[in-house]
């Protein structure tokens, strides 16, 4: 019996000695903790060249097939990791957000070039108001700057712009810019860029509920007739032909939806790459699409 306890305690101490440093290392490297990643790390260390070659091969063949196979109609992106990216490089938070904004424009261009119809971006959440004041001011200034500078691109590429969210707290100048952008691009149909500023999934459902309550009060609709389609038309994503995203990408490895699309992401495939948003480029985006194409979407039925 004593020997058994001795053996058990030795085994546990060894395990603890292994697991705790691994946790620290993965936290520092911002790598998602999983057996797969640890194995991947070991494989990578052992044969770096081989892996790279393999990846390049895969990407080559996928390029042709992608065009033939299905692509998501609506991609939603949670832009996470700007501040961590800046920290890693010893830069300030505002530089991180600026790099994020540049990456946003590039990625939006890539998305539409690949044939995606609708792209949604979680630019500013209702919870982000709690961040330090200068960061919030900096972000709002960034939105204004980029909306203004990219207007000509939106017009030339015929991209419809919609901004969803609670508009009551945004500054008047930004509001005017948003209205101008939406008006100027409202007739375009094939490409749609939805920017969520001061948005939260629960707020969206609440405002839909309020609007329905108002309609019920005015006799425009009976409460018993309220069903999922009626609800969908009241949500802020009713501006889009494809309100429900097929693919949701959240960068920086955090596996949460953080109150972005709640109702709309009922059947959305969730993709959580470890890369930080300013580093999420065309290659990473291709990987996400490849991953999406390998999913078997059943919607509750049998395959």
């Amino acid at each position: 019996m004593e020997q058994m306890v001795y053996i058990v305690s030795v085994v546990f101490t060894c395990l603890a000695l292994l697991v705790i440093p691994i946790l620290f290392i993965t936290r520092r490297l911002s790598v998602h903790l999983s057996f797969k990643n640890i194995l991947r790390f070991i494989k990578l260390a052992a044969s770096q060249l081989d892996d790279e070659e393999e990846n390049n091969e895969k990407r080559g063949t996928m390029g042709e097939e992608e065009k033939r196979r299905r692509l998501p109609k609506h991609v939603a992106i949670i832009l996470d990791g700007n501040r961590r990216w800046a920290e890693k490089r010893g830069l300030g938070t505002s530089e991180g957000h600026q790099a994020g904004a540049r990456r946003l424009i590039e990625n939006a261009k890539d998305c539409f070039a690949m044939g995606i119809n609708t792209v949604s971006l979680f630019a500013f959440s209702t919870e982000n108001w709690a961040r330090p004041e200068d960061e919030v001011k900096g972000l709002m200034a960034l939105f204004e700057k980029h909306l203004r500078s990219e207007m000509s691109f939106f017009r030339s590429d015929k991209i419809k712009i919609s901004v969803i969210g609670n508009r009551t707290k945004i500054s008047q100048s930004l509001l005017d810019l948003i209205t101008e952008a939406e008006e100027a691009t409202k007739s375009y149909e094939e490409k749609h860029l939805i920017i969520a500023i001061d948005y939260s999934g629960r707020f969206d459902i609440l405002q839909a509920c309020k609007s329905l309550a108002e309609k019920a009060k005015n006799g425009l609709i009976q409460v018993e007739d309220i069903d999922e389609d009626v609800m969908e038309k009241e949500l802020m994503t009713n501006c889009s032909e494809f309100p429900n995203p097929d693919l949701l990408i959240r960068t920086s490895g955090e596996q949460r939806i953080s109150n972005f699309f709640l109702w709309q992401s009922a059947y959305t495939e969730l993709y959580f790459p470890n890369v930080l948003w300013p580093d999420f480029g065309e290659a990473e985006y291709l990987e996400a699409l490849t991953w999406y194409q390998q999913r078997q979407r059943r919607f509750g039925l049998r395959v």
Binding site: V8, L23, I205, V223, I257, L262
Partner: protein, 267 residues
């Protein structure tokens, strides 16, 4: 005789080492509410070359094991996605066999020796129960009544459930609650939240979906806004202690950051 003794001894060792492990885990923050999407039963049966129904039976015993671990760990609320409204669109034979299995298992919860009495579990059946056949519905309501006094652990079984359906019912109830005279502003967030069937439990801390798929499939959409999602590749009947431990370790890593965020929000 000897074989039985050895397996009992191994069982004891397993339990002892599990208790040590849980003690170590409880040094850090532990989740209060765990949610499970039990995906992969049919693939498991196919993989092992078994007949169709046995995948779900294997899934049920995996569920019982998980519940035992949760109880030992001290998790107060456990939610499971047993049957979605979308699943009614499957082949009628499969739906019927699932209903039969559920009826048997729900009735077994009423036994004196069942896990609910052993661990003091209070059971809720969440979902559009009107869509179930009469016997299953009656059995479910009987179990809810019989376990109403228990308070150690709360088990929420989502059957005939869709999150969009739950939100819709809450919205409808909030609309109907408000008097015709009252203004639109009166519908507040708390009205919707109170009318949600899942309001009997706090929001889940971790959502574990087996079989490696990373989607919510219309499960707890409202409640998982800030929930940690975890998708091990194992199929549901293959899920084990190591997946649970890994999920909790991941939860503990980001817990302090999330707590800070929550406090900022309240400020």
């Amino acid at each position: 005789m000897g074989g039985g003794g050895v397996s009992q001894l191994l069982e004891q060792i397993h339990m002892l080492s599990r208790r040590c492990l849980f003690r170590v885990l409880s040094m850090g923050p532990l989740p209060i509410h765990l949610a499970f999407i039990m995906d992969g039963n049919r693939r498991f049966a196919k993989k092992r070359g078994l007949e169709d129904g046995s995948g779900h039976k294997a899934g049920f015993s995996a569920l019982m094991t998980m519940l035992q671990y949760c109880y030992e760990l001290g998790v107060k609320y456990v939610t499971i996605y047993a049957f979605s409204i979308d699943n009614f669109r499957r082949k009628p034979e499969e739906v019927q066999s699932l209903m039969d299995l559920m009826l048997v298992k729900i009735k077994s919860l009423l036994d004196k020796e069942s896990i609910v009495h052993q661990y003091g579990i209070r059971v809720y059946f969440i979902g559009n129960l009107g869509l179930l056949n009469k016997q299953v519905r009656a059995a479910a309501e009987e179990v809810m009544k019989a376990t109403a006094e228990n308070s150690r652990v709360v088990l929420l079984v989502c059957v005939a459930y869709n999150s969009t359906d739950e939100i819709l019912q809450a919205v409808k109830r909030s609309c109907a609650d408000k008097d015709v005279e009252r203004e639109r502003e009166r519908v507040r967030l708390v009205d919707i939240e109170e009318n949600m069937q899942m309001s009997v439990a706090p929001e889940p801390d971790i959502l574990i979906r087996s079989s490696g798929e990373t989607r919510l499939s219309n499960f707890l959409l409202w409640q998982t806004g800030h929930c940690q999602l975890f998708s091990p590749d194992a199929l549901w009947p293959e899920i084990g202690l190591r997946h649970l431990v890994w999920a909790i370790l991941n939860f503990q890593r980001s817990h302090s950051y999330l707590e800070k965020k929550k406090k900022k929000k309240q400020l």
